[in-house]
């Protein structure tokens, strides 16, 4: 069990970073971004394409890919904050569903569906605990998820930029009146989360199977993790991601539970919703 749990930690770190991105998006720009990991996947595929067909060195290709993932996310953010500035979170999120579909199909067209020959950025094991090896990727993703969460928290609470962002999300009208530039800030948030998710997917993709669909569908366990924090709290999102990854790894050790493993994110989502919504709440908007 412990072995399995540690083995699932790399996936957990990935979920955690994506969950942090989802939480930031939901808090700051009112969107549950279903295309979060798909943008990362796309940037990452571009990186691989560049390194193979143009012959760019791995790191340079990775940088270009990450920038592209970020730009893609920013473009989507720009579209949404231009045309759907006043729309509710449902409509804004529905756009990202369409984009998810679009990105997966587009990657089939552009990059085919054969496996991409990724060059691992971080090969091999880092250390072992009780005979279970913890890989370098695991260490990096877990550390990265915690760092990103802490960094975002500090940014939001300690800096004037963060203050403006929070003002924008909590009192949009007042913030606009105070002259805070709503759209550029929103696009910046999109760009930043796009950057983070492409970065982490670029790190993890070489060390696991990496077809377009499975990378894009990482958004499901990630949103389960984000839900632990109610799409509000970054720390709980990180914890949720790590725990979910470990739980999946542990369950995989038991053959009879193999189907349960697939339903784990779903069950977590349902359970959390039941718990967090045990009281009826009326939101002001509708």
């Amino acid at each position: 069990m412990l072995q399995g749990a540690l083995a699932g930690l790399a996936a957990g770190g990935l979920y955690a970073v994506l969950a942090v991105c989802l939480t930031l998006m939901s808090r700051l720009v009112r969107v549950v971004n279903f295309s979060q990991s798909a943008t990362g996947m796309f940037g990452c595929y571009v990186a691989v394409w560049l390194s193979i067909h143009i012959g760019l060195p791995t790191w340079a290709a990775a940088v270009v890919g990450i920038v592209l993932g970020s730009a893609l996310s920013a473009l989507l953010g720009w579209i949404i904050s231009t045309w759907l500035a006043e729309a509710d979170i449902g409509t804004r999120s529905a756009v990202t569903v369409a984009v998810l579909l679009l990105l997966i199909s587009l990657s089939f067209i552009l990059f085919g569906n054969k496996p991409q020959p990724f060059h691992p950025l971080l090969p091999g094991p880092a250390f072992s605990v009780n005979g279970v090896v913890v890989s370098q990727v695991t260490v990096v993703t877990v550390v990265l998820s915690v760092l990103i969460a802490l960094g975002c928290r500090a940014l939001l609470t300690k800096t004037s930029f963060g203050l403006e962002l929070r003002a924008l999300s909590e009192r949009p009208t007042t913030a606009e009146l105070m002259g805070i530039p709503a759209k550029p800030l929103a696009v910046a948030v999109w760009a930043a989360t796009g950057l983070l998710s492409t970065l982490v997917i670029t790190i993890v993709a070489p060390s696991q199977s990496n077809d377009a669909t499975s990378l894009s569908m990482l958004v499901v366990p990630a949103s389960a993790a984000a839900l632990l924090g109610g799409f509000r709290r970054l720390d709980l999102a990180v914890v949720g991601g790590l725990v979910l990854g470990m739980a999946q790894g542990a369950v995989a050790q038991v053959d009879s539970l193999s189907v349960v493993r697939y339903f784990l994110p779903f069950l977590v989502i349902v359970g959390l919703l039941l718990w967090s919504q045990r009281k009826e709440v009326w939101d002001v908007a509708r």
Partner: protein, 573 residues
């Protein structure tokens, strides 16, 4: 839709005639088409039924459901399972069982998600779709190991006849959705899509409305899955992948499938786009890219193919319908106010540090109209929210006719005879005036009764679609609906907002007659003192969340404290 208030013959006969015609067209297609197109047509029919379901949940009820094909998989499972077991009844019975099973699964999945609003249903359904995707690949549909193909009914065993069976099933599903839309469920779907608070205030359960929408949608998905199994012979996980579910959702959004004809149109797109791509030699993957782009476009512009086509269809768009209050109402003796029917005592609520209301006492007399006035931010709307149950964290006692309402949900309070209207427009534009009034009233109403009440308030006639009614008139339609519910007390939150000022007094004259005419006591929140003067026997003044004065109209308005509170708000005096 627009003939909702016409006679039963047209209301039921019309769609039936169209259905018979559709089945006839289906038959001629099944005979006349090339074999390959018959098969494609079957795929379109399957997609059409699934889209019809999505239309109910995403179109009518405004939720995001991303696992329509998972429900189809449930239907397929049941059909192939019953086939393998050799269950009695044959294919059609199995198909119905599949639909019912999928509906039940829909309820199970929806139950946790539907309590809450916003995006959670999308997260839940995507999670389910992804999990089902992996699971279905690993486990097998019943009968696939042994290659037992599902037996089509004897009369429909070849492709052409099966296509015809498909058109019949599709037509029945269309009829079902068409008539369901006219029931309370259907009105509830429309209402909940537009405003959950508005739905609860009408005494309809938000959860039931969403759950029925989700269950009906899932059941239609199940039927689609069962039909697909009969089409292919065996059920395969690849038919129910989450990518396809996503694509179906996007297609639903972009073609506007809450309209039944658009569901059929969307189904045609579902097969026509890949077919055209094939003919032009374009790789099939572009199909989903096209859907993705069109879906994004539809969402960002707020339009869809359905509405666009409709606009072209009916060029002759009429102007908005408004309120006609010019003629004074017939005289009616005003009853003397009686004992209090609604008493509120010690009501307090705070939002964080801010005390929005503290220790408010109010009593609404039976047969009376109590006015609640006060400057902006005095807490008037908060008071209505508390009394009607939308702020459960408030403290204090609310009693209706001697019964405590504390701890009851807005829906329960509405059913107990305490109704309210909203300051903002919470009237779903998808209904007609008549069907909305029936939905809000929650009781059997004769057409005459509705027409009379609407006429009394100068509202447009019952068959007018609400989307063509202006905002001021919509507010009054809302009032009429709630009055026809015959509650004990109706809380009106600034009903005159949205009406031109000169009609305020005309409205006042009518509100004055409400207790006598409808047997309903009224708590009127108003900004316009002229209106309040013309209507209210007693007045309570709120200021900074506290009761400043309370009593008969003349007394209160003469109170120097009240005058002081209103200083600066000169337009009120």
């Amino acid at each position: 839709m627009s003939r909702a208030e016409t006679g039963p013959l047209i209301r039921f006969g019309g769609p039936l005639v169209v259905a018979v015609a559709a089945i006839a067209v289906g038959y001629s297609l099944s005979v006349g088409l090339d074999g390959y197109f018959v098969y494609l047509g079957m795929s379109a029919i399957v997609a059409g039924i699934a889209l019809l379901g999505l239309g109910v949940v995403t179109g009518s009820a405004g939720m995001i459901s991303l696992c329509q094909l998972t429900f189809a998989a449930v239907g397929a499972w049941v059909v192939s399972g019953l086939n393998k077991a050799g269950a009695p009844g044959g294919f059609v019975v199995w198909l119905i069982c599949g639909g019912i099973a999928a509906g039940l699964v829909g309820i199970l999945v929806g139950l946790p998600a539907l309590r809450l609003r916003g995006i959670n249903l999308a997260v839940v359904t995507l999670g389910l779709a992804a999990a089902a995707d992996l699971t279905l690949v690993q486990i097998q549909f019943p009968g696939t190991v042994d290659g037992i193909s599902v037996e089509r009914p004897d009369a429909f065993s070849d492709d052409r006849n099966y296509f015809w069976l498909g058109t019949i099933v599709l037509t029945v599903c269309c009829l079902l959705v068409h008539f369901l839309r006219r029931t309370r469920w259907g009105s509830g779907w429309q209402a909940v899509a537009f405003s959950e608070r508005g739905t609860a205030a009408a005494g309809a359960s938000v959860r039931t409305s969403k759950l029925t929408a989700f269950a009906v949608s899932a059941a239609l998905g199940g039927v689609a899955g069962g039909l697909l199994t009969g089409q292919v012979g065996l059920a395969f996980p690849a038919s129910f992948s989450s990518m396809q579910s996503l694509a179906l959702y996007v297609l639903a959004v972009m073609s506007g499938v809450h309209m039944i004809d658009m569901a059929v149109f969307g189904a045609v797109l579902w097969v026509a786009v890949p077919e055209l791509l094939k003919r032009w030699g374009v790789p099939q993957d572009w199909g989903f890219v096209i859907f993705g782009l069109l879906g994004t476009h539809a969402l960002t512009t707020g339009g869809n193919l359905g509405t666009a086509v409709r606009e072209i269809w009916r060029r002759r768009s009429k102007g908005a319908a408004g309120v006609e209050l010019a003629a004074p109402p017939a005289d009616l003796e005003v009853l003397p106010p009686g004992a209090p029917v609604l008493t509120v005592s010690g009501l307090s609520v705070s939002f964080g540090e801010v005390k929005a209301l503290s220790n408010v006492d109010i009593a609404v007399p039976s047969n009376g109209v109590l006015g609640v006035i006060g400057p902006n931010g005095a807490g008037k709307s908060t008071l209505v929210d508390i009394i009607s149950g939308f702020l459960p964290q408030a403290t204090g006692v609310v009693e209706l006719d001697g019964q405590s309402l504390n701890g009851k949900s807005p829906t329960k309070r509405a059913r107990a005879g305490l109704r309210r209207t909203f300051q903002q427009d919470r009237v779903p534009a998808g209904l007609t005036v008549g069907s909305y009034v029936r939905f809000v009233a929650r009781r059997r109403l004769g057409a005459d009764e509705i027409a009379e009440a609407l006429e009394f308030f100068g509202c447009p006639p019952a068959r007018t679609p609400l989307r063509r009614v202006d905002v001021g008139a919509r507010r009054l339609v809302e009032v009429v609906g709630h009055l026809l519910a015959k509650p004990k007390v109706l809380l009106l939150d600034e009903p005159a907002a949205g009406l031109p000022h000169e009609e305020h007094v005309a409205l006042g004259l009518r509100l004055r007659q409400v207790p006598a005419r409808f047997g309903v006591s009224v708590l009127l929140i108003e900004h316009d003192l002229d209106l309040v003067r013309s209507v209210c026997d007693t007045i309570t003044v709120l200021d900074f969340g506290q009761v400043l004065a309370s009593g008969p109209q003349a007394e209160v308005l003469a109170n120097p404290e009240v005058l002081k509170a209103y200083m600066g708000e000169t337009e009120l005096l």
